[in-house]
Homo-oligomer: 254 residues x 2
DNA sequence: CAGTGGTCTAGACCACAAG
DNA sequence: TTGTGGTCTAGACCACTGC
């Protein structure tokens, strides 16, 4: 409960340990303030730097929210929304405005989408995923989705420009059922999706766009849609706030 | 390229921006050293604290690896292993020592597993997932898996103790096909799995067990195995180093 | 041994939040 | 206005790495 100056463990780490234990034990409830810097300085006889190092450590662990001018608080467990990937079934896709809209409807939230559409040559990675040559013209639909006014995820779709030319896929509003419905109308009947899930810390632009607080990682989901010839027809790269979402996958046992 | 003391942006953030851009641009290759604190101090006329704040920021973003006594280096992109969840098919399960072994075999690595087996009363969350009453005796198989001597993931299986009593599931070595094969032999034919994927920053114990460097989030996968009556028979909670793994899911388009 | 990063202190001034 | 956290400085001593 008190600091040991002789310990090989740094003072600020010991201090962080004390606070972390207290938080995990529930001494400070989610949303409640933890001791201020001044209090830590007084209680544990350390310098301000040491107190701040301890706080910063907990902030980067995602345990506390530190904000200018207000006391640091225990990070509330945000209500986690579950994104069920079964929503990719054809039936689900068709009577909704795409997977995001389906998820929004399921969670009783007001969805908004900002869309930017550009055509650019494919970089090496995108080209490889889409099965086209590097430099091939690719249509990018960059979207920022919000739920109830709060940023939820970033998503960019990539399709060969040839394939989308002159179709509603080039429009802001892709119509009922979204891109996938349009693709099937074009004769690209979809056979399966592959989603690859990874995680990393967000870049500053992503922190900004998703309004993330320190210590919040993002989920990076790369979805590839394959047609009946097992040819990739669309790539969707998603960046999802790790504190707000979890992904659920259903896997048959055979 | 140079710092602006009048800017509203903190000096250390400006400095971090400069370094980050240089790294992302490729000026410093992965694994290569970035400027030392002394160099930053000399080049940009800042105090050591400011230089260190900038470095720490990049460290927490996972862009650089900072180590005592050695120069900070650009974080090398670890070879990412893909964990294909199709490996959960019955055919795959049966001729391997479980999903971890299957993945290891697929990646030509030498797998090791440390296993601890305990029986404990279920906490509220586990009870709810397993569909049993809180406090019911639950068998826990805690495993730490290593590939080529390096920690790869932590996994704990939870099964109702009644169900596992007297079976090989209570042993360290669960035999060919692992737990799932034993469950099916016991009459619990598996119908499906649900995997829920989330991410967060690791706790100190996890950092230690997985040898994670700062700025590395973990993937938290909770897998539930259901039998033919759609009753959960096993829960598997996995903690996976986010810099080493990605998960691949195959989703039929229907 | 020299160079690098790790920890810690004391003190200063600023910016934001809330009463 | 008061208290809180944000930024920055100068300086000191320590511990690890690698020549």
């Amino acid at each position: 409960m008190s600091l040991d100056a002789g310990s090989s463990k740094a003072l600020y780490r010991q201090l962080a340990d004390i606070l972390r234990s207290a938080i995990l034990r529930g001494d400070y409830a989610p949303g409640e303030p933890i001791p201020s810097e001044s209090e830590l300085i007084a209680t544990h006889a350390v310098s301000r730097t040491t107190a701040r190092q301890a706080m910063a450590l907990l902030g980067n662990e995602g345990l506390v929210i530190i904000g200018h001018g207000r006391r640091a608080t225990v990070r509330p467990r945000s209500p986690v929304r579950r994104l069920a990937r079964t929503r990719l079934s054809r039936a689900e896709r068709q009577h909704s405005g795409g997977t995001f809209m389906a998820d929004a409807a399921a969670s009783n939230s007001r969805p908004e989408t900002e869309t930017t559409i550009v055509i650019e040559p494919a970089d090496a990675e995108t080209a490889s995923l889409l099965g086209v040559d590097e430099g091939t013209s690719v249509l990018q639909r960059r979207r920022r989705m919000l739920l109830d006014g709060r940023p939820a995820q970033l998503a960019t779709s990539y399709l060969p420009a040839d394939l989308a030319r002159g179709t509603q896929i080039e429009q802001r509003d892709t119509g009922p059922g979204g891109i996938y419905a349009r693709l099937e109308e074009l004769g690209h009947t979809l056979s399966r999706f592959v989603e690859v899930v990874a995680t990393r810390m967000p870049l500053p632009a992503e922190i900004d766009a998703l309004q993330l607080s320190p210590g919040t990682p993002v989920l990076i989901v790369t979805r590839t849609a394959y047609d009946n010839d097992d040819k990739p027809v669309e790539i969707n790269r998603m960046t999802i706030a790790g504190n707000l979402y979890e992904l659920a996958y259903d896997i048959p046992a055979n």
